[in-house]
Amino acid sequence: MPLTTRQKILIIGSLVAIAMVLIPVCLWQQATVKPQLVIYGPRGISDLGYAAAQSFSKKYGINATFVHFGMGSIEIVQKAIEESKDPKADVILAIPEFYATPIIEKGVLEKYAPSNIREISETKIWDRTGHVTPLDEAPIIIIYNSTMLEKLKLPAPETLDDLTRPEYKGLVVYNSPVTSGTGLSVLTWVLTEKGENEGFDYLLRLKANIAPVGYPSGFSSLITVLRTGRAAIVVSFNSHVVDPQTPHMKTKGTTGFMYREGMALVKGAKNAEAAKKFIEFMTSKEGQDLVDPNNYMYPIRDDAVVTNLKNAPRPLKTVTYNWALGGRADVWREKWRTQIAGA
């Protein structure tokens, strides 16, 4: 039966109103139940974070949530410091070794070592204050595109100093330390090896050899740069060598920097017990088995599985962070921004 205008308006209005009610109902179950464990971590380890939270939840029946706020590792640490008076997180994941000092000094973390810490090799435990439990690690090394260098008839670089050689002009690339954790790790390597002043001098000299693309802001843009042959030499994680998207990448593997990150219990955490359990879980084989498949980094347990990075080259000699430098990553970023990038 034909409808009057009034009826048509009422029908359309009703349909819209129904939709506006139905949709929230459909989405209702998507809302997270009040979490019984809040895990902060950088966006870069989302895969590991979500997987770890899910595995832990399943195993212990404790509802764990991983959040990243779209932030990198430095920002997450800073967020935790800002929230220290009323902490929202229970555990912080992927605290970089070189940025642990501020968070420890500000008293944001609770001293805690899980009961299975002894199952970890002594050399891997890098926080002597007893706040941060190691999580995983990966080496930053010098990688080169073998095909490109062959074409240019150039020898493969081995050390940081090699990179400043004039024959590598326009061929070198590394991530911007301002926007990328990887880049910050590179910066830290340089400063660890050479000290702060000489380190920045070195980077200034290296600037002459940087590829026209500049300093890519993120890891995926770095991959694109390497993939499209915009640079021949990169200072970055060893995963590039086994990444099928960046073929021809090799390394002499002479030296490197071991980037290490850890996890810690937040002081005044609302779910402290669950947090402790989680740290223990992530130290166990079950938790450590999640590291390589999800994060492309090496677990700190010797008996944990390594599949992705199985064939990745490990450098002969690596330096680790020099704690005497303190936790000045913030200052270095700013310094790099103004002195090196010159923006």
Partner: protein, 357 residues
């Protein structure tokens, strides 16, 4: 329904659109509001409709003050100058709209729509959209729509302005018929005096927001209160003269070397300078001289289809005369440039005091 507007005023920013307008119209009668563009007649209509709130004054329907009543509750129908059919609705949908808005049932709506479309002779066009209709058809639909919900007052704002001449005549006659058959009180706004005269019982003439004349159609034409009104409602020759003698209900005016007796209700004094307005149809061509004739020379002869228009140079200036017999055209054309005798028919002469322009 009797309609009254009392002391209505409306200002838009610095512009006084309607200034103390007063009018009334009896039930089932037609009042035209006549005036040049921009004189405020549309605003006046919208004030009566309730589409615009007045700054001052009131509107009464059958003695009831409706000034604060919103337009949708006044029981009015409004036909706009621009064709305002709802473009997204068919003819049927448009006419049904007011009934729909009042929540009528589907069946009653269908019956009433059929009735109305029959009234405006648009049966068969129910499913058409406005863009598929001619201007005249659209206005007929607008009228049907305005009458749909048992309207008490019909307001028309220059409804024929966007139509061509032949259509105008037809549609005007239709409106007149409709109004008479339905007995609806009607206010008709126009700037065309022939339209106003054709359709109305009463006329209000408006200039610059003020109603300058209000009265029966014939009275307004034959006895306009001011020169401006006189000029607006019809062509007028304007001469000056002097009051020679006073009589009961009339005056003797000295016009050149002639004297003429004109009926008037005005209080004039002997020797007073007056304006004498003569309709062209009251300026007659005479073949023989008399006390009432004066001389002139035909300067121009224009054939107007149903009449002949003459421009005659006289001692009083260039005057216009109208000869109702079109067959005299060739004869009058032959007399161009030659002297001619003229006489004023007192019936078509209006006398006004000199200051009253």
């Amino acid at each position: 329904m009797k309609v009254e507007a009392i002391d209505l005023s409306k200002r838009f920013d610095k512009f006084l659109a309607v200034n103390n307008a007063n009018l009334s119209i009896e039930s089932s009668k037609v009042l035209s509001v006549l005036g040049p563009s921009g004189c405020g007649k549309t605003t006046l209509l919208k004030l009566i409709a309730g589409l615009v709130p007045p700054d001052k004054g009131s509107v009464k329907f059958d003695g009831v003050d409706v000034t604060r009543t919103p337009p949708q509750k006044r029981g009015i129908g409004f036909v706009f100058q621009s064709l305002t059919l709802f473009p997204n609705l068919t003819v049927e949908g448009n006419v049904a709209f007011p009934l729909d808005a009042r929540g009528w049932s589907y069946e009653s709506i269908k019956t009433r729509v059929r009735e109305l479309l029959g009234l405006v002779r648009l049966e068969g066009l129910e499913k058409r959209y406005p863009r598929e209709l001619s201007g005249g058809q659209q206005q007929r639909v607008a009228i049907a729509r305005a009458l749909a919900a048992e309207t008490q007052l019909l307001l028309l704002d220059e409804p024929l302005a966007s139509l061509d001449a032949t259509l105008r005549g037809d549609l005007l006659a239709e409106i007149k018929n409709l109004q008479r058959n339905l007995g609806i009180t009607t206010i008709y706004v126009t700037h065309d005096q022939s339209e106003a005269f054709a359709i109305s019982d009463k006329i209000a003439v408006m200039f610059e927001g003020k109603i300058e004349a209000l009265g029966e159609t014939f009275e307004i034409y034959m006895n306009p209160p001011t020169e401006r009104v006189a000029r607006f409602v019809g062509a007028t020759n304007v001469l000056t003269g002097r009051v020679e003698k006073l009589e009961s209900g009339a005056v003797i005016l000295k016009l050149g070397k002639n004297s003429i007796s004109i009926a008037t209700k005005l209080a004039l004094s002997i020797g007073q300078k007056v304006k004498i307005l003569v309709r062209p149809e009251g300026l007659l061509i005479e073949e023989s001289a008399s006390d009432l004739t004066f001389e002139g020379a035909i300067e121009n002869v224009l054939f107007r289809g149903d009449r002949v228009q003459l421009h005659v140079r006289t001692e009083f200036g260039l005057l216009e005369s109208l000869v109702r017999d079109p067959s005299r055209y060739s004869e009058l054309l032959g007399r161009r440039g030659r002297p001619v005798l003229l006489r004023m028919d007192p019936k078509f002469v209006i006398v006004l005091p000199e200051k009253d322009t």
